[in-house]
Every structure is written in structure tokens, then in C-alpha cells.
């Protein structure tokens, strides 16, 4: 392999890239846009869920309970008239749950019995439904504790719960490092794929075949070029991310510094593989886009933890570089465990990258041009 030829190929790619102004703008604008949207808008935890309460008891006790419900962060209470059907607000979409406090509730409680409340929860949104259930349950639990005199009921256990690394429970600390992974998996791959497929679409690949450039040199040159572009994207995206959300290395940054270029390289090699395997730009983009969307958003623990998925899919995630990078990224900016915790990541990513390179090389090696 001649390094000089690789370098020439790399320079040619960069020149070609620079000339298409729109692509350059989008190569940096798109990742930034994605970062901003995800970082600013996407949150999983919900507050102020509208619920309807139908108080048919109308005693000081029931009113006290309703005011406790209003006092929770998660719920926003509106009163439902006694004549209305409990399912009405759910059907209309104006409330996510209806609580019916039946008449005689206060009397039951005062006699030392349990008083059932009717609760209907709209479970089309499964996560919302769980949040609402927990909020109602915990409000009821705390409310019940106040009804009992202190000396009559001593809890056997009290749990002192601490949340480490992120006591403020900032979701951005989880989402933004994850966005780094999604963005760096998608855009370098897209650019590389388009560059690769353009060669075969336009027929310029024949010149490469006819030259002394070997398939490996061609791939190495293109990878180097788009790795450089990708590192530029890294600087822009992570730079902005650290500014807006004050994300900085918590402890030893070396794992992240090693993992990042490896990950970008994996992304570029994947793009080159797809580009070498498809014949039109739209097909290449759809291929990179849909495979990326599925593998990198789902099989990486980006939105929901990996452990939630069926085991077969968890196994599948072991061949996705982004899964390792997300772990390293989140750890580097929040927990700080570093090499002892996630040192296996760069090796896994390097192995996957080698496989991509080998597959792309096998496709290009034959140097046959399908007209």
C-alpha cells in the first residue's frame, strides 16, 4: 500500500467535498440541528399531566386528598362534574386519567377501613400511564400516612435514596451524549456513502479501477478524508453541546479521546460499504438512513435502556459500534468510570471497523463496473 497514493485520494475527496457548498453546509448544519432538537426538546419525564377528578364525597377529607393531588409535580387536576361519565375526558383527550372519589369515602376512613377510589388511566401512552399510576399511588400512600397517629404505625424500614452523578436528574446529561453517538453514526456515514456511490453512478469509478490505485488504497484514502470531515463535525457538535449543557469531562478523558475517532471511522467505513454496494444515490441514502435509524436509535440504549429489549435484540446490539460509543460518551461526561469500566469499547469498535473495511474491500477488489 502506497501512502502517497492514499494521501492523493484523500486530498481529492476533500477538494470535491469542499466544492459542493450545499453539502458542506448540510454536513455541519444537519448534525447541529439534530443536536439542538434532541437536546432541547426531547424529554421523557412528564410534568403537569391533566387529570380529571370527580369528587362525589365532598368532605374535608376528600378535598384534602384532591389538593394533595394538585400539589404533585406530575399531575394537573381539573374538576369533573358529578353528572359526567368518567370516560368522557379520556375519550375527548382532555385528561389522561379520571379519579372518582365515591360518596362515603370519608366515613369509611374515619371508621378505620380502606376506602376504594375509582381510577381510570388512559394507557394509550404506556409511559404516561405508569407515571400517572405511580403519582396517584404515592400521593395516596403519603396521604394515608398522615391519617394515622404517629405512635400507632412505625414503618419497619426507611430507605435513604441517593442518586449519584446527577442528583438534579438532568435528562440532558443522558440524552446529549447519546445524541453525539447518533449524529456521529449518521452523518459521516451519509457523506461517505454518497461520495462512494456517486463514483459508480457517474462512472468515475472506472478511472480509479484503471489507475494504479488498489482497492485498499482507494478505501483508505476516502476513509481518511471523511474521517477528517467527521472530526470537524465532532468539534462542532461536541463543542456546542458542552457550551449549551455544560457537559465536560468528569474524570479521565483519554478513553473518550480514543473512542471518538475510532467511532467516526466506523461510521465512515459503514458508509463506504453501503455506497460500494448500491447503485443509486437514493438507494444509498435510504440504506444508510434506515439502517442507521434502526440500529443506532434502537439497539444502542439511546432512548430506553438496552436491558428493556428482548434478549435477541440485545445480542444484536453487540455488533453496533454506537452501542459502545454511547456507553463511553455517557460515562465520560457524567459518571467518569473510564478505562476500568468501559475499556473494552475501543477494541470492539476497532474489530467492527475492520470487518466493514474487509467487506467493502471485497466488493471493490474485483474492479468490475456494472454499466
Amino acid at each position: 500500500m502506497s501512502l502517497a497514493r492514499v494521501w492523493v485520494q484523500c486530498r481529492k475527496e476533500l477538494l470535491q467535498f469542499r466544492r459542493d457548498r450545499l453539502t458542506v453546509a448540510l454536513a455541519f448544519g444537519l448534525p447541529l440541528g439534530m443536536l439542538l432538537i434532541f437536546g432541547l426538546a426531547i424529554r421523557l419525564e412528564i410534568k403537569d399531566i391533566p387529570i380529571a377528578v370527580q369528587d362525589l364525597d365532598r368532605t374535608p377529607l376528600s378535598r384534602e386528598f384532591v389538593s394533595r393531588l394538585s400539589a404533585t409535580q406530575e399531575l394537573r387536576v381539573t374538576a369533573l362534574p358529578a353528572a359526567a361519565r368518567p370516560m368522557e375526558p379520556l375519550d375527548a383527550g382532555s385528561a389522561r386519567a379520571t379519579i372518582v372519589i365515591p360518596p362515603g369515602t370519608a366515613r369509611l376512613v374515619q371508621r378505620g377501613l380502606t376506602a376504594p377510589l375509582g381510577v381510570l388511566i388512559d394507557s394509550t401512552d404506556v409511559v404516561n400511564a405508569m407515571t400517572i399510576r405511580e403519582a396517584i399511588r404515592s400521593t395516596a400512600q403519603f396521604f394515608d400516612m398522615t391519617l394515622v397517629p404517629r405512635d400507632e404505625f412505625v414503618p419497619r424500614v426507611a430507605a435513604d435514596v441517593r442518586i449519584w452523578f446527577n442528583p438534579g436528574r438532568r435528562e440532558a446529561l443522558n440524552i446529549v451524549p447519546g445524541v453525539y453517538a447518533v449524529v456521529l453514526a449518521m452523518y459521516p456515514a451519509l457523506l461517505a456513502a454518497m461520495a462512494m456511490v456517486r463514483e459508480s453512478e457517474r462512472g468515475t469509478i472506472v478511472q480509479a479501477y484503471a489507475s494504479r490505485l488498489s482497492a485498499a488504497e482507494l478505501l483508505a484514502g476516502k476513509s481518511a478524508a471523511f474521517l477528517l470531515v467527521g472530526l470537524g463535525q465532532v468539534l462542532v457538535v461536541m463543542g456546542l453541546g458542552s457550551l449549551i449543557w455544560q457537559l465536560w469531562f468528569v474524570a479521565d478523558p483519554t478513553l473518550m479521546l480514543v473512542a471518538t475517532p475510532l467511532f467516526v471511522l466506523d461510521s465512515v467505513l459503514f458508509g463506504l460499504l453501503v455506497g460500494a454496494s448500491t447503485r443509486s444515490v437514493s438507494a444509498a441514502v435510504q440504506g444508510v438512513g434506515s439502517i442507521n435509524a434502526f440500529f443506532n436509535i434502537l439497539l444502542t440504549g439511546f432512548l430506553y435502556p438496552l436491558g428493556n429489549m428482548p434478549y435477541a435484540l440485545q445480542l444484536l446490539s453487540t455488533i453496533v459500534p454506537a452501542r459502545y460509543f454511547i456507553e463511553v460518551s455517557r460515562d465520560a461526561f457524567v459518571r467518569g468510570a473510564g478505562w476500568p469500566g468501559f475499556g473494552y469499547a475501543p477494541f470492539a469498535m476497532a474489530a467492527i471497523g475492520a470487518v466493514y473495511f474487509a467487506l467493502a474491500w471485497l466488493r471493490l477488489r474485483r474492479m468490475q463496473f456494472a454499466a
Binding site: 459542493d20 450545499l22 453539502t23 448540510l26 439534530m34 434532541f38 426538546a41 426531547i42 424529554r43 421523557l44 419525564e45 412528564i46 383527550g93 372519589i101 371508621r111 378505620g112 380502606t114 376506602a115 376504594p116 375509582g118 381510577v119 388511566i121 394507557s123 394509550t124 401512552d125 404506556v126 409511559v127 404516561n128 405511580e134 396517584i136 399511588r137 404515592s138 391519617l147 419497619r156 424500614v157 430507605a159 435513604d160 435514596v161 441517593r162 442528583p167 436528574r169 438532568r170 446529561l173 443522558n174 443509486s280 437514493s282 435510504q286 434506515s290 434502526f294 434502537l298 432512548l303 430506553y304 435502556p305 428493556n308 455517557r330 460515562d331 457524567v334 459518571r335 468510570a337 469500566g341
Partner: protein, 365 residues
């Protein structure tokens, strides 16, 4: 005029049918993705790993650990000592940790409240929040069971409406189907509309006696038919694989879906009037379609977004379509409930097609 239009239509259909690779990519991956996303997206947190240091080792402490392990919420793993728990959490090897001090048994026997320490890995704030909630619920239930006699108080009897099994795919699949339609619709329509500019055959198009409206509609119709078919196919597959309910007024739903598809195609054509090559058009399409998909309530709830973004989503036809989809298919409600969202989609479609049509015409003449 009709035969002219018919000829154009035949040509567009034929071209679409000939592009096997594109057809495949527009039909199969969305279907596969719908199924895979539906299978893989499981937001309900469970099986959190819990590193336990039981320094008390009695029946009472084991009871407590068993309470945490019940229902698969936490998965306990025993470690030697309290500091070992801290090390495991700090190394990222466990989601949570619990330390039961040696005084636990003594306190329980003396009727005092025994303290245990719970540590949660806060890297994922959502998971940590759920873990904290579960902990509070488990400890409270444990305390009540230990107290023996029933305590007075209110007892919420919870019923889940519409989706009693809490099947997460029922929530995500409508969003995914709608999102993929808008994503692939915009990309396909924009690639289609820019084709002549990209290939350099614009002159041929200018020379045809067909009016620019006829040309445009002829381009839209095959894509429209394909996406409507894709939608029906997707819903059928979702019903077979996930048991997705298909309640409500189906003809009304398909009508609204048709308008929605048209709005997506309209946006695609609009994008094509702003670019010259297929590559540019695809990048812009992704730039437009991704925010539409993300800010739509498909994956993350709109209610948890900052107010600015919540208002912004009102301009997103996908947001309205997902609301309608969930309301009509899962709840079975009708026009009285969904008409505001439906009218929003209609307005969007009309504007998109009118503006893109006007621009396309002026570029063609």
C-alpha cells in the same frame, strides 16, 4: 386533455415500477422497521441490576431483598461489603445499589425504623427517576405488610383504559408508521420532482403540451397510491404482529390519511423546487423530515417539551396525524374529537401543494 394526462400517468407509473430498487426500499424497510421498532421500543423500566451488600444477613433483611426482586423490577446481585456497592456503581457496573447495615436486625427487633441505603446510577435520569419511584413503592408495601393489621386510608383501584395490557408497541407503531410515511414520502416526492432538473431532461418536460399541473399531478399519483398501500400494509402487519386495535371509523381514517400523505408529498415537491440535484434534495429532505419526526410525539411525549417546542409542533402535520391515529385506532373516537387535528392536516396539505405547485409551474415556464 384527459388522454394527455392519462399518457403522462402511465409513463410515471411505468417509471416507478421499473425502479425496482427504489420500490423495494420504499416498501420493505418501513415495514421491517415498523415491526422491529415495535418489538424493541420498551420504555417500561424493569430488571434494574441491584448490587446488594447485606451486612445483617437475617430473615428480615432477606425478606426486604426479596421484596425488591419481586416482579422482576430489580435483579439483586450480592457483593461483599458496603464499599463494594459504591465501587460497583462508580464503575458503571450496576444500575442501583443497596446497603443493609448490621444494625438492621437490631432495629427491627426493637421496633425502631431501620434505615437502608439505596444508591441509583443517575447517568440516565429517566431510569433513575423510575428506580426511585419503584423503591418508594416497594418499601411502602413492605412496611404495610410488616405492620400486619390493615391501615385505614384511600386505596386507588387502578384500571387501564384502551390498552389494559400496557403494550408499548400500540403507542409507538402509529407514530412510526406515520413518521416513516412522511420521511419516505418527502424523500421520494422530492427525488421524483427534481429528476428532470437532475438528469438534464428539463427541456423535454418543457416541450410537452401537457400543462404543468398535469405533469405535477401525474408525478404525485403513483407515489400517493404506493404510500396509501404501504399504510394499509403497515397497519395490517401491525394488527397481525402486535394485535394493534383498528377501532373507529376506518373510511374516515383512510380519508384523513390520504390528505396526510398528500401533505407529505407536497412538502417533498416544495423542496425539489429549491434544489437542483438529487443529492441536495435528499439532504434537505432529511433535514426537514427528521425534526418533523422527532417533534411529533412519536417517540417522546409532546407534553414534556419546553413550551416553545410544544407550540412549534402545532405546525407539524405528523403531530396531528399521530394524535388522530392514536385516538381513532386505539380509542375508537370519531370526527367530533379529531376534527381540529384533521383540519390542521387539511390546511397544511392545501398550502403545501398550492405553494409547491405554483413554484413548480413558474420554474417550468
Amino acid at each position: 386533455m384527459l388522454s394527455r394526462f392519462g399518457a403522462l400517468l402511465r409513463k410515471e407509473f411505468a417509471e416507478l415500477a421499473r425502479n425496482r430498487q427504489l420500490l423495494f426500499l420504499l416498501l420493505i424497510p418501513p415495514l421491517v422497521q415498523t415491526v422491529l421498532f415495535g418489538v424493541a421500543l420498551k420504555p417500561i423500566v424493569k430488571e434494574l441490576s441491584l448490587a446488594v451488600a447485606d451486612e445483617s444477613k437475617t430473615l428480615a433483611s432477606r425478606d426486604l431483598i426479596a421484596a425488591f426482586a419481586a416482579n422482576g423490577v430489580f435483579v439483586p446481585r450480592y457483593v461483599d461489603s458496603g464499599p463494594a456497592v459504591g465501587r460497583a456503581v462508580r464503575a458503571g457496573h450496576t444500575d442501583a445499589g443497596m446497603v443493609i447495615p448490621p444494625e438492621f436486625t437490631r432495629d427491627v427487633q426493637r421496633g425502631r425504623t431501620a434505615e437502608v441505603q439505596i444508591v441509583l446510577d443517575g447517568v440516565n435520569a429517566y431510569v433513575a427517576g423510575q428506580g426511585a419511584g419503584y423503591t418508594a413503592g416497594i418499601v411502602d408495601a413492605y412496611d404495610r405488610a410488616a405492620a400486619g393489621a390493615t391501615l385505614p386510608g384511600v386505596d386507588p383501584q387502578i384500571t387501564f383504559a384502551y390498552n389494559p395490557g400496557l403494550i408499548s408497541s400500540w403507542f409507538f407503531v402509529p407514530g412510526i408508521i406515520g413518521g416513516l410515511i412522511v420521511l419516505t414520502g418527502i424523500i421520494a416526492a422530492s427525488a421524483e420532482a427534481v429528476r428532470e432538473k437532475d438528469e438534464g431532461t428539463l427541456e423535454q418536460l418543457l416541450m410537452t403540451p401537457a400543462s404543468s399541473w398535469e405533469i405535477l399531478i401525474a408525478k404525485i399519483v403513483p407515489l400517493f397510491v404506493m404510500f396509501l398501500g404501504s399504510l394499509c400494509l403497515g397497519l395490517t402487519v401491525a394488527k397481525l404482529v402486535f394485535g394493534l386495535p383498528l377501532l373507529g371509523n376506518i373510511p374516515l381514517f383512510l380519508t384523513i390519511s390520504s390528505v396526510y400523505i398528500l401533505s407529505g408529498l407536497g412538502v417533498g415537491i416544495l423542496i425539489a423546487t429549491y434544489a437542483n440535484t438529487r443529492q441536495q434534495v435528499i439532504l434537505i429532505s432529511i433535514f426537514v423530515a427528521l425534526p418533523l419526526m422527532l417533534l411529533s410525539g412519536a417517540f417522546a411525549p409532546i407534553e414534556s417539551m419546553p413550551p416553545f417546542f410544544q407550540y412549534l409542533t402545532l405546525l407539524n402535520p405528523l403531530r396531528h396525524y399521530i394524535t388522530i391515529m392514536r385516538a381513532m385506532l386505539l380509542k375508537g373516537v370519531g370526527w367530533q374529537v379529531v376534527w381540529p387535528d384533521a383540519m390542521a392536516i387539511v390546511a397544511f396539505a392545501v398550502i403545501a401543494i398550492a405553494v409547491s405547485g405554483a413554484r413548480y409551474r413558474s420554474q417550468l415556464s
